[in-house]
């Protein structure tokens, strides 16, 4: 993890999935192994099995989803809620439970037309989970950078 990421971690509890750099050697975990003579041993190791390609691949898929959502938001096809939802690695049903909103309502809020009419209170519910301010949630221009 870069230092930049560490600073961000302090004020937000959510991992920045968009810019995450996975350091494959940083985290060690107990790993069991059978020796030639049939005895078992365990040791702390950071590379086991096919770890690297799998972890990288899983994050690639997440990042790809975020990128697609971001493009759509900038084009004005969907509301920023969809982008932040992908950024928090959430799907509709989980987000619905966190915000206490019905699924159909949440899907409706992803339309730009409906999103513009939402009141502060509803927006705040979303913003609280995404750990951003309401202004940030409304403002899509800063995503262009």
């Amino acid at each position: 993890m870069t230092e930049n990421n560490k600073d961000k971690k302090n004020d937000s509890h959510i991992v920045d999935a968009e810019n995450l750099v996975v350091d494959n050697r940083r985290f060690r975990i107990t790993h069991y192994k059978m020796e030639e003579d049939g005895q078992y041993s365990h040791l702390l190791a950071s590379d086991w099995g096919a770890r690297d390609p799998i972890v990288n691949q899983s994050w690639d898929i997440v990042k790809e989803r975020i990128r697609v959502a971001k493009e759509k938001v900038l084009k004005g096809e969907i509301s920023p809620i969809a982008y932040y939802m992908e950024k928090c690695i959430t799907d509709v049903s989980t987000l619905a439970k966190y915000t206490g909103m019905a699924k159909w309502k949440l899907k409706r809020h992803m339309k730009v037309k409906v999103f513009k009419k939402l009141n502060e209170e509803t927006l705040k519910r979303y913003a609280d989970f995404f750990e951003i301010s309401v202004e940030e949630l409304k403002d899509i221009d800063h995503l262009k950078l």
Binding site: H13, F27, H31, Y32, Q39, P53, K97
Partner: protein, 334 residues
């Protein structure tokens, strides 16, 4: 207040690790493979109707909470296990038990867990850890997967204990109330082995046990045709993720179980168990083979390097090996 918790052991499986650490506080010396075997954590299930990360769920472990409760029942240890709907009540109860000087095991979600490695912080609500003290609104946590001494603030604790989504924990906590004077491991070991045999061979449902492995192979064979190469590689990745990733100790708990059989052979003085532990290790190697070759398929997603038929054949081979192992285990007269 902070309890003396310097016996903490690191382990591969979070729940077995939490159980080991809790039992260790009461001077019961038992290691991770033993707990995993007695608690019958070994399992297989491929459940296409349950989606994780937009892919069908494959599980190599029993439901969360089973290992702890089964181990304690088998050893004759009395425990208390509760969930609390009311957040404040749950937190007060945790403080109350900690004040009495009892370490508490918690089931938490990892998405908000600050000390957890960033690459694993997804919406996964089946992590287990032990809390052993509170000072200045900060809790001391012994997490058997993460190295070092960890602290977590009151606010964060509230969050990780009450995540939402699949398998939401509702603030589940468990602690030991009474420990017997003498612990005999022989009986529980036999019981654990029998339980695992039953779950792998005799459950009449096609998605779990050895049947489940064969079902998984059949499903895998159909993925590229039904879903296209891109989705198929995503599904495959999710399966390998739960096979190899954090908490399994390698090859979907097969190596841990092998280590358990090896220990059981010494404990019960049965030579055949030793042979079976070697067999189990070989089955684990085969699973690992599958994960290595599958991972190559995930790398270049548009064109698979190995055909899915080949991968399915490896899994069928695993199923045959495991069926043989458990049939033999079942026949042993203890």
């Amino acid at each position: 207040m902070k309890l003396n918790f310097d016996h903490m052991q690191l382990s591969a499986h979070c729940e077995s690790g939490a159980t080991v650490n809790l039992l260790g506080y009461y001077k019961i010396n038992i290691d991770e493979p033993m707990v995993f075997g007695i608690g019958a954590g070994y399992y297989f299930g491929h459940l296409p109707f349950l989606k994780m990360n937009f892919s069908p769920a494959t599980t190599f472990r029993a439901l969360p909470g089973r290992v702890f409760s089964r181990t304690c029942h088998a050893l004759g240890v009395e425990f208390e296990r509760n969930t609390y709907r009311n957040v404040q009540k749950g937190m007060d109860e945790l403080d109350r038990v900690l004040d009495k000087g009892i370490p508490v095991g918690l089931q938490v979600g990892v998405f908000h867990l600050p000390f957890f490695p960033a690459e694993y912080r997804m919406h996964y609500n089946m992590h287990n850890m032990v809390v052993y003290g509170k000072e200045n609104n900060e809790y001391f946590v012994a997490d058997s997967v993460v190295e070092g001494e960890n602290k977590i603030s009151y606010k964060d604790m509230m969050r990780v204990r009450y995540p939402k989504g699949a398998f939401a924990t509702n603030g589940r906590m468990y602690y030991i109330t009474k420990v017997p004077d003498q612990i005999d491991l022989k009986g529980p070991t036999i019981k654990g082995i029998k339980k695992t045999c039953h779950e792998m061979l005799d459950v009449p449902f096609w998605m779990v046990g050895v049947k489940g492995i064969r079902f998984f192979a059949r499903q895998l064979r159909g993925w590229p045709e039904k879903k296209g190469n891109k989705i198929a590689s995503q599904y495959l990745m999710q399966a390998i993720l739960s096979l190899e990733e954090i908490g399994t100790g390698g090859a979907g708990y097969r190596f841990i179980y092998g280590a358990f059989l090896n220990e059981a052979a010494d404990l019960l003085q049965i030579e055949e168990l030793k042979e079976l532990s070697v067999e189990m290790g070989k089955a684990g190697d085969r699973w690992r083979n599958f994960s290595y070759q599958g991972a190559r398929n995930c790398k270049n997603r548009s064109e698979p390097e190995f055909s899915y038929d080949l991968l399915a054949d490896i899994i069928l081979d695993c199923a045959d090996r495991e069926e043989q192992i458990f049939r033999k285990l079942k026949k042993i007269k203890f």
